[in-house]
Amino acid sequence: MFRRIRILFVVTILLSISSFTQANPGGVGDGVFDMQCGGACHGDSSLNQTSSASISIQVEGAPYLDQPISISAVISGAQLSYSGDIGIFLLTDTTGHSDTPADAQWEILSDSNGGTNNYLEGKLISGQDNISSSWTIKPTSLTTTTFYISIHHGGDDIPYFGISQGLEVEVLPIPENLARLSSDFTPQTTRPLGEETIVSIETEDVSNVKVEWKVEGSSINTIIANSSSEGEWEFTAPASNHPSTIQWRAILEGDGPSQTTPWFTLVAQEPPFEVDEAAVYIQSFALFIFVLGFILSIQLKLSNVKTEQKHWEQTEEVLQDSPPNAPPLPNGELPPGWTMEQWQWYGHEYLEELKEEVQ
């Protein structure tokens, strides 16, 4: 019996593990990943097929040292006209490892999903055969980097993989007196719902800042940023009562050449749900095992009471084993060597034997 249980247990475990080794059709969430992770997420890389989707990549802004630029990607093609998830990587080479922007001395300031990740997940809507993503990044050293966009998506129960042509970006030293963002400026990427947001901009060699902002699909609004202190500017983004994204950019003017920053993304969203996954799994298993043990113990106790009662209760056996009526004594007295108890049980046999001897 135990052997069969062991076999059943092992088979169950093996079958359950198989679901973990499959692709992740539900995605893995945004993050900072190498391209190799994208292959691993599809399980056996030999199952991957090349996506026919077209991937275009473009840079906006001048690539000065410590100054942000924007890289945007538009992915389109008939193969995307299914309903499902797509993963989009911003990479700096195609070796599969150590290929994130950080590996090439670039810092991601924001992405179009409201984070600071090189891997973004999007939702393809049936009938809509394109999707776009963007990143705002800045170089932290004078270098030349080739950027790639890689995609992973499903369709027809097959994992598809695609990668764009490389786009080379050479980082330039900052010109003298260039009106620019401060090198330690980090844009705000998210904000809560229903509240106006004061956005701060730190600058250098800037005397005037104009801000352009837009909600996706609407026209551009222009406002003048207020100077809060030396090199610091502020503008107010209107409140949003539902999850939405606004994009903004600053036009910086000073004594030197003017500069327009790339578009920054500011996402209004509900605070993301965060939970300690280990705590959840431990509590789940604890509930399972505790309930199992608790019920078994109670059932055992109730069952034990009944067993003990039966163990000590022998009335039925006593009643069943009571001796039959004693036969009449021969000559009014017990035969020699007999007790009354023996006579009660075996007296009739003695009388029958006596009767046979007489005959």
Binding site: N24, G27, A279, L287, F288, G293, I295, Q299, L300
Partner: protein, 190 residues
């Protein structure tokens, strides 16, 4: 090869169907025992069906849980409703397994005595109820609506204990289960 989400739908339908049938049979069995339904034949039928359906549901449950984690966005615990589904299904699984082991190793006597029978039917029906609640939460997550929405259940509230408490609960549960199984296997009727 089918996707995790399709496999999840298949396995959850098996789980929900099995547990629903099991729960109904436990209810009918209790009614028969209390002679609200007078049928000796039904006593035997509901006993067998309740426990076999329960066993089938328990076998299918791990597949439903693992495929659900695989098919859901991100890590599988990205929203409160998914965390609550995890708690509900694991508690239901524990109750179901306890009912099955009790009936298997202690025999039909637990259904003839009043108190053990009450506990057994309560455990079976609770397991069924928790699994149906889990399925309802899944419907709310996937489609935004479910039949049990009329109860306005607080799926968005997660009661997460500190890890220390969970570990204590886990250790005491393991000890209790081991002790109970040791005794049960020692006096098995099978």
């Amino acid at each position: 090869m089918i996707s995790s989400s399709t496999f999840h739908v298949i396995s959850t339908e098996l789980v929900v169907g099995s547990f629903a049938m099991s729960g109904l049979c436990f209810l009918l069995h209790a009614l028969c025992r209390y002679e609200l339904i007078k049928s000796q034949n039904l006593i035997s039928v509901t006993d067998n069906v309740a426990h076999f359906a329960l066993m089938f549901g328990i076998v299918a449950t791990p597949f439903a849980i693992f495929s659900g984690i695989s098919a859901s966005p991100g890590s599988g615990l990205s929203t409160p409703i998914l965390v609550n589904k995890m708690f509900l299904s694991m508690t239901g699984l524990g109750l179901g397994l306890a009912a099955l082991i009790s009936r298997w190793k202690m025999g039909s006597s637990i259904l003839t005595e009043r108190k053990p029978m009450l506990l057994q039917t309560f455990t079976g029906m609770s397991a069924s109820g928790l699994m149906l609640l889990t399925a309802s939460a899944g419907g709310t997550f996937a489609r935004g609506e479910s039949l049990l929405d009329i109860l306005s259940l607080p799926y968005d509230i997660v009661i997460l204990m500190p890890v220390t408490i969970s570990v204590i609960l886990l250790i005491s549960g393991l000890a209790t289960t081991a002790s109970a199984l040791w005794k049960i296997l020692g006096k098995s009727t099978v």
